[in-house]
Subunit: 356 residues, 2 copies
């Protein structure tokens, strides 16, 4: 697939959550259709997709029919089963490519990949068993965090360790899953760079945003981040380094710790990212459109920031604030259409625009 | 229907063109679903609607099923058959209401309604027959424009008359349809006010935009319009006058001629309007979201203009310019997903943002 997709072509999207939903909206602005593949019923993205396939990732027939009905395949989450990718890739291009998925699906692989590019990461160790955990704590320090190598998001599959005495409980909480121990990093704050690379190899980055988490879930992202010009440049170069090393096509989120001795890569996500939602109201072309452009073989667009923005996630009962937020000046509301409110569930977000 | 529609509720939209398409996108931002009713196959709005009913406006069964599947009914065009409205209104609220449709469906009724509010309109006359046309030209002047009373848009159903000798041909071109003669107005330029009124009676107007037409079709809308402060106020008061007189719920487009002696109302459209597309990139809440908020019983949002914008329609072969426009800084692209390019067909638009 070398030519840009024309009006009326279809982007296949694996995953039907809010990221898929906002990708569908962006695709519509470019005259493109979308087809969602999602095992769960009534996915948020289904409200705005042209088509929805409700099927399991081990349903090879459904995967084949899906691939045959679309022009290119992308995804809104990284934990797609390898067997499903094996079926899909024989039929249609998958963008971003499988190497990005292979690396980002496993925290250990991801960290060694980042190190191989000369990038700094937090001290870490492979933890196949309790003995390895004891040994790692001796090197990295007792204050650390044990994480499953795979399937972690929004603080899930993680156990903080403040003291050696907590190690056994933390290891038990992994329930036998392969894990990695990460040392604490003494950082001032966290930033994200949302970067995009086109099929032709062009790279562009949105302005870095400054993240605040609550209970392991992103709470706010504010742009501009409070960064020196040189750190801002470093952040962009790091993201470009990663994109080029992966021969990447699409949008990638890079989370970085800002420390007194420079930037440390926390993690990467091979997809549009919650910390890039501010671009919807801060830029002419947002992260969702930039991703669709890249996977559709289009040139990237103008991602220059025109306004200062604070993005705030609406989690669970934050939905009670919607009537007030809906009438607050300079607040853009983005709800995900999830009927059921649950604690910790991402229900929507707002972008508070701070015009210069 | 008095309470604001909650997340997951469904807006029924009559008509599946680009206006419906952009209404669907706006509804999704508020967590609402959309259901399109459209006789034509593969409507542009179908790409982003939750559901689509493909049926004729005289299919009472389909209309009933549609109405029963939604919470409120709105529309993207004014020429909805009365018989269809009769079926729908017994089942669900229609917003804006039928009085707005009755008036805007007929140029003659519309003009006398506007006059009844004390508003200025172009000189006009009812033209049931050729004798009436001769008589009207004696009063209004030979230079005039003959229009069908109903079903006109984008310059269709219109015949310009420059001289008495052209009257018979113009009358014949109406093909027996009831017509109205309008005198030419000596105007400096045309503006639009996109105004909204909530179910609770609150009114808000977007900044007036200045329109340029080509071949009877809107070419560009530029904000801010070159208006004095007093004319700007007049424009907003005229729109509010119309909204309140109709007990209107939703967005209304008002086209006004700017003349040396003040504003003259050209026409009104009881729906989102092409000349309001600039709001997508010039305001936090655009005309589509404002309309959805009103028909869903929500409070209106912040429609303050934060940027100067020039909206330009992409008509027919303008689609050849898309690759260049897609990479032009400060240009936001909005395509409608219409696969077939035809001369005079609206294929998309761009918003060129001029940041202060």
């Amino acid at each position: 697939m070398n030519d840009p997709l024309p009006t009326g072509a279809t982007i296949g999207i694996l995953g039907g959550g809010q990221l898929g939903r906002m990708l569908c909206v962006a695709a519509s602005r470019l005259g493109l259709k979308t087809h969602i593949f999602e095992p769960g019923a009534q996915p948020p993205a289904g409200d705005v997709a042209h088509s929805v396939t409700t099927a399991s990732y081990d349903d090879a027939g459904a995967l084949k029919a899906f691939a045959n009905s679309v022009d290119v395949i992308t995804y809104e989450f990284e934990n797609i089963p390898t067997s499903a990718l094996d079926v899909l890739e024989t039929l249609k291009p998958i963008r971003p490519g499988r190497e990005a998925l292979r690396i980002s699906q496993d925290r250990l692989t991801e960290k060694s990949f980042l190190e191989s590019l000369g990038l700094k990461v937090a001290p870490y160790a492979d933890i196949p068993d309790m003995a390895a955990l004891d040994a790692a704590m001796a090197t990295i320090g007792a204050a650390s965090i044990l994480k499953t190598r795979r399937f972690g998001y929004d603080g899930k599959g993680q156990a903080r360790i403040m003291d050696v005495s907590e190690a056994a409980d933390a290891f038990a909480s992994m329930a036998g899953a392969p894990a990695v121990l990460e040392g604490f990093v003494d950082f001032s704050f966290e930033i994200s760079v949302i970067a995009a690379r086109s099929a032709g190899g062009d790279v562009t980055c949105f302005d870095p945003g400054q993240n605040v988490h609550r209970d392991g879930i992103l709470h706010t992202t504010t742009v501009p981040a409070k960064l020196s010009a040189s750190l801002r440049t470093d952040a962009v170069l790091i993201a470009a380094n990663i994109l080029n090393a992966l021969d990447y096509i699409g949008v990638l989120g890079v989370e970085l710790f800002v420390t007194p001795t420079g930037l440390i890569v926390n993690e990467i996500a091979p997809r549009v990212h919650n910390s890039g939602h501010w671009t919807q109201n801060g830029c002419v072309v947002d992260q969702f459109e930039q991703h669709i452009r890249a996977v559709a073989g289009w040139a990237l667009g103008d991602g220059k920031r025109h306004s200062d923005v604070e993005m705030e996630n609406l989690i669970g009962d934050d939905m009670n604030r919607v009537p007030e937020l809906a009438t607050t000046p300079n607040v853009a509301l983005h709800l995900y259409g999830k009927a059921e409110v649950k604690p910790g569930r991402k229900m929507g977000h707002i972008n508070r625009i701070i015009h210069p």
